[in-house]
Amino acid sequence: MKRSRLAYLFVLPSIFFISAFILYPLAFTVYLSFLDWNGLFGPRTFVGLRNFERLATDSNVLTALINNVTYMVLGTIGTVVLGLIIATLLDSKIRGWALFRNTFYFSVLLPSVVTGILFISLYNPQLGLIDSLLGLLGFKSLSHLAWLADPKIALFAVILKDVWQYSGFPMLLFIAAFANIPDEIYEAARVEGASGLQIFFRIRLPLIRQVLATVVTLQILFSFKVFDSLWVMTHGGPGHASEVLSTYLFKVAFSQQDFGYGSAIGIFMAIVIFPASLLYIRLWRLEGE
């Protein structure tokens, strides 16, 4: 049919872009991971699986992976739970709820660079902002913590900031999902004598199952890619305490000039993310087409 030709022309630009800048680089990464190369105009030597052997024994990679997983667990729970709570509160449709919703979403748009630097100042023990706040609230014992300088706390300090910043995203989606639930269901439940908590866990949550799954999957995907916040706030430090896969990849490739090993890390990242990607696609298809 003559129609086909126009269609191919229509998809051509997009296909060009993804082939040139996504598919080709992906293949190229695989190729590079088998080399030893400093990225400049030095020799590219084929070293087989040596980069991957190094990957398997590099304790920094293990630390980074553990940190990614920590980020994933805490970050996802934090943003999703907060998002749920606020969305539920806003579902009461009090006056001005839309204004609340809009304000709560704003922080999601801010660059991690800005919020990261901002929180560096907030967390600064000398400037003492969070300290004064904690003192005001009565948590005197928590003050004077070296939030970002203490290797045991640094990662959590960053996760906290990200949870603060990004809860608006799940919140927005949950609000939309809740909007699809007819009020009669809640009324019927209340007539039957259900308590607020029961309504929440037995009615609300199950009815937004799919959105919940999508949100969690998206958060998981994001947590394995996370770069900006950590790079800005801790640079992966102190030492490697808050290193994640992407920051380590960056350092290996651009500070240590080891493009081969860096590419191997990249492959590792893609493999780690792969299950979550499959889940996302699967969920997307389940939403019914």
């Binding site: 009090i94 927005l172 990249g266």
Partner: protein, 274 residues
């Protein structure tokens, strides 16, 4: 009511950091270090000049004004190309008869979750061999590429729901396929096109990793990269830094106030398919 109380608490927690940033951006450096809370009224000084210094690069040549322009150029160009490519592809997949439409579509869908971080190395090598380091196109092309998959999926979903009758009426009147698309479908779809751009905008405006790698000269930095320069300095000048950050925040506030409705609609549509 308890509901309102909790909401107000969270509102304060959300607004406080940003409000504090703006508030602090007009104080002098010494004032900030002396007493972080004091309002910028006498005996403390108000220093609106912070913004000027930050904008023009008076401090260590950190030129936020230049960075803003770079970010704007890159973002607008990327969005234009992105929306054009994605809407065409989305339309073709949704509407036109094409042999591999399923395969092509699922390819796009799968690519949504590819981590750009994984491929930053070969991308860097590619952009370098194309001579596009420190060139806005070195950023624009990858930005378009990495946002295309998601936008194509959104566009296709939209076009699937588009009523047939309009195009058919046009074709009965003798319009070509392309004519029907360009003259009938597109003008009506302006809202969707805007939504594509608006939803993709923050990802491009705030992008750090690629920009860090591709822009090496001070003149070519985008906002995220440029603002980061404030952090490495020996004795951080909080006043200029806060002013610089505030410039970025104010730009986003303006963006948000104008496009709020589209953003909310676009995000929800993107994640929930309507």
């Amino acid at each position: 009511m308890l509901v309102v109380a909790f909401l107000v608490v969270w509102l304060i927690m959300q607004l406080f950091p940003v409000a504090w940033l703006l508030y602090s951006s007009v104080k002098t450096n010494s004032d900030l270090y002396t007493d972080i809370w004091a309002p910028p009224i006498p005996p403390m000084q108000v220093s609106l000049g912070n913004y000027w210094v930050s904008w023009t690069g008076g401090y260590v040549n950190i030129k936020v004004g230049t960075y803003l322009m770079n970010s704007l150029t890159v973002a607008l160009t990327s969005l234009l190309i992105l929306v054009f490519c994605a809407s065409l592809a989305g339309y073709a997949i949704a509407r036109l008869n094409m042999r591999f439409s399923s395969t092509i579509f699922y390819t796009f869908l799968a690519l949504i979750s590819i981590p750009a971080e994984s491929v930053v190395i070969p991308l860097f090598v590619m952009i370098r061999s194309l001579g596009l380091i420190d060139n806005p196109w070195g950023l624009i092309l990858p930005y378009v590429a990495y946002n295309v998959p998601f936008c194509v999926v959104l566009a296709r979903a939209y076009f699937k729901g588009f009523p047939f009758e309009l195009e058919e009426a046009a074709k009965i009147d003798g319009c070509s396929d392309f004519g029907a698309f360009w003259r009938i479908v597109m003008p009506i779809s302006k809202g969707m096109l805007a939504a594509l751009a608006i939803v993709s905008f923050p990802g491009i405006w705030n992008e750090l990793l690629f920009a860090l790698v591709i822009t090496t000269r001070n003149d070519t930095h985008t906002l995220p990269v440029g603002l980061l320069l404030y952090v490495g300095q020996y004795a951080t000048r909080l006043d200029y830094m806060f002013a610089g950050l505030s410039i970025n925040v104010i730009a986003l506030i303006i963006f948000y106030v104008i496009f709020n409705r589209y953003i909310v609609r676009g995000v929800v549509a993107g994640a929930l398919k309507g």
